[in-house]
Amino acid sequence: MKLNTIKAPSVEEAVRTAISKYNAYEDELNIKVVEKGSKGFLGFFGGKEAVIEVQLLPSYFERKIGEYLEGILKHFDKDIIYDIAIERKTIFVNIKGIEVSRLIGRHGKTVSAFQHIIGIYANRLSDVKLNVSVDVGNYKEERRQNVESLAHKMAKLAIQKRSKVELEPMFAKERRIVHEVVSKYKNLRSYSVGLEPYRKVVIEFDSRRTNTYKNHGRRWTNGKQSKQNSHRKSPRSNTSKI
């Protein structure tokens, strides 16, 4: 994930520098020797430095993040297990335990906090942008399902009422799920109103009449624009005549 060149008098020394620099084990590094380096005459003249390219392997990130998380969770008085999986540039951290509700927080506040902090830590280790996704006790997955089923329910209600339905305030990610669900319905459209953190989704029944109204408005601005353009063009066309 991270590629770095290290120079040292010999290859062995360069490898040692890399290991101490990143605090990594040798098997967590992908080492490519670019320049072997040579001692030169009597070890003084014409000596060439060894150059290696070091790449940190996913196992390194797994261990580092694990250690960091361990340091946080050891202060928590309940027994907890966690696992870390890395897929391309996304790191999935899953925290499980018997009494994890405290680690979820109201509206998943603590889950977001975990994700934010571990995200910073992971990106401090790497210079490529990494995504971190933290889930505690399957909270995120369950919440996603809940929001999805709610969106379906509200969409059906909007069709039934042939008008618009306002949902409760939600987080941006949850609103996105609602928009995705609504986009599958043919004669519905959705948008968000209000300011964070009270921003909420509105699902609206979209009849043909609202469409024509929109087109009408657009045509008016187009007409105005083309008029302005022709006005602007007129002196230019005069110069071309001359």
Partner: protein, 77 residues
């Protein structure tokens, strides 16, 4: 608690050696953690719109449990 705060902060700053956390009590008898760090790390600790320092606060509260004494975090330049 202080140990946990230091651990979290050390993971997110660039220069862990200049990080200093001190525990104090303010005039109302509340616990105050004062955080001192190098100039460029201060921005990182606070985060955009104070998001990082808020997250740290949330984590400390969650992990310390309901029977903890209340505290405030102060980032000092």
């Amino acid at each position: 608690m202080k140990e946990l705060l230091e651990h979290i902060l050390k993971g997110i700053v660039k220069d862990p050696d200049s990080l200093l956390v001190t525990e104090n009590v303010d005039e109302n008898g509340n616990k105050v953690f004062e955080i001192r760090a190098s100039e460029e790390d201060i921005g990182q600790i606070i985060g955009k719109d104070g998001r990082t320092i808020k997250s740290i606060n949330v984590l400390l509260n969650a992990i310390a449990g309901p029977d903890r004494s209340s505290f405030t975090l102060k980032v000092i330049r």
